[in-house]
């Protein structure tokens, strides 16, 4: 028990723990707040908390602790600013063969509406939805990561889909 517990206090172990999870947890923070700089701040703060409390944290639960801490830090910051998201540069259209300008314009418009709709989702819905979409995570994996039940994940996902469908559809008209 003791050796496991204090593993996190060893710098080399902590460093590899950091490198292993920084990307995933930063993405999660970003889905949550939609702000690149702020999300990295949350993540660094969360890692700092883990390092400072390394002797108290069970190393097997460190990953959950990391995500929970980011979530809490996010909830603690009152400034809920506008979510700014964008698409990756090289993003193929759905119908890769269709080069009709009208189709491309339509698709671009759809993508903008989608971004808007996503940024209007609640934080909980957005991070579940984006973890599922961007990171191809199963609901079960998301539940594990966020330390919530799979039912909750499904509920959030379902809510997100309903809102997106409605909003993107409405804007279309």
């Amino acid at each position: 028990m003791g050796t496991h517990k204090h593993k996190l206090c060893e710098e080399s172990y902590f460093n590899s723990f950091y490198l292993e999870h920084i990307q995933a947890v930063n993405s999660f923070a970003f889905y949550k707040c939609g702000d690149k700089a702020a999300s990295l701040d949350f993540v660094q703060d969360a890692f700092a908390k883990i390092w400072e409390n390394c002797s108290k944290i069970d190393f097997e639960k460190a990953k959950t602790y990391l995500f929970t801490t980011v979530n809490n830090l996010f909830l603690n910051t009152v400034r809920h600013q506008k979510v700014v998201m964008s698409y990756a540069k090289a993003s193929p259209y759905m119908d890769k063969t269709n080069q009709n300008p009208e189709y491309l314009l339509e698709e671009d418009e759809f993508k903008q509406r989608l971004l808007l709709a996503i940024s209007d989702l609640s934080e909980d819905q957005r991070d579940v939805f984006l973890l599922n979409r961007i990171e191809d995570k199963k609901y079960r994996e998301i539940a594990e990561l966020l330390n919530i039940s799979q039912k909750t994940v499904e509920k959030r996902m379902s809510g997100a889909l309903k809102i997106l469908r409605k909003k993107v559809d409405n804007l279309k008209i």
């Binding site: 930063n26 939805f129 996902m157 889909l161």
Partner: protein
């Protein structure tokens, strides 16, 4: 299965879009399909993990040192300390039945022993005895001076650093001071053991040891030691012993370096008035005294 669950399953990759379309032919899933597809293209910031770690290392941490070992050690110490306190108090409560009385300078104390024998303790003296064993063994330790009125019964023993006194039931005074030891018998008979020598005192007789030498003392007529009446009486006693007694009764320091303290004094001094007491000692010996605070200096007339 309702549609909502199926859509969830579709997004979780368990069923395909084709299955959904087949199941719900009327419904248009194109919006959801597109949303699902394009949302995959949303950019998540790519982190340069090494650089982030370097930045992270420049932070200052309020790192708490791992406390586990010192904490355990501390609590162990706490428990040990509690045990020690409990054991010692238990010892004093249950096993240590030594009762002791102590008097300071110019103080006397009267009290009864468990067998109703009466003890009057003179100034700067200490008396202790074992409460539990008292019934089997009437014996006590004394340093200093005390007067005993012993009720009749088994052997009653007073141990002093110089000698011990054994009686059955009498009244007697024991005086054990530096280089001075005296037992006076007022009633009944008192057996004194001093350096393996045993002798029996009858009323009016004294046993006196000065500077480890047994000294003969005159008989006396008093019914009780004079110090009970707040007076110290001396009968051919060396002056240094008188000075000693004055110091004990008045909390003073007497400087007698200018006089001969080996000459003897017969007489008494009161415990209630320092000046009268000093006069009653010094005048018969043709001495004078000077008081400054708690210090008294004795000197011969002629010198001044």
């Amino acid at each position: 299965m309702n549609k909502e669950t199926d859509i969830l399953k579709w997004f979780d990759g368990e069923i395909s879009i084709k299955d959904i379309r087949k199941k719900y032919p009327e419904e248009d899933f194109s919006v959801l399909e597109k949303a699902g597809y394009y949302s995959k293209q949303i950019e998540a910031p790519i982190i340069d993990a090494q650089k982030a770690l370097e930045d992270f290392k420049t932070r200052t941490f309020k790192k708490e040192a791992p406390k586990v070992i010192p904490l355990n050690f501390k609590s162990f110490l706490k428990i040990a300390a509690i045990l020690v306190v409990m054991l010692t108090s238990a010892y004093f409560v249950f096993f240590n039945n030594t009762k002791s009385y102590t008097t300071k300078i110019a103080q006397t104390e009267t009290f009864s022993l468990p067998d109703h024998s009466e003890v009057i303790l003179n100034a700067q003296s200490k008396l202790s005895f074992n409460k539990k064993q008292w019934e089997e063994n009437r014996s006590l330790e004394l340093t200093g001076e005390a007067f005993f009125k012993v009720t009749k019964g088994e052997k009653f023993t007073v141990h002093t650093p110089v000698g011990s006194i054994q009686v059955l039931g009498t009244q007697f005074n024991v005086k054990e001071r530096a280089n001075y030891f005296e037992v006076q018998c007022y009633e009944g008979s008192v057996s004194v053991t001093h350096h393996k020598e045993k002798l029996v005192l009858t009323p009016g007789k004294s046993f006196r040891v000065i500077n480890n030498k047994v000294v003969l003392a005159k008989d006396f007529n008093a019914k009780a030691p004079s110090w009970l009446e707040k007076e110290s009486t001396f009968d051919e006693i060396p002056l240094w012993q008188v000075i000693n007694e004055l110091e004990i009764q008045y909390d003073i320091t007497i400087n007698a370096s200018k006089i001969d303290v080996s000459k003897t004094f017969s007489g008494s001094f009161t415990h209630t008035d320092k000046n009268i007491a000093l006069q009653s000692v010094t005048i018969p010996l043709k001495l004078s005294y000077k008081i400054s605070g708690n210090n008294v200096e004795l000197y011969n007339y002629e010198q001044n």
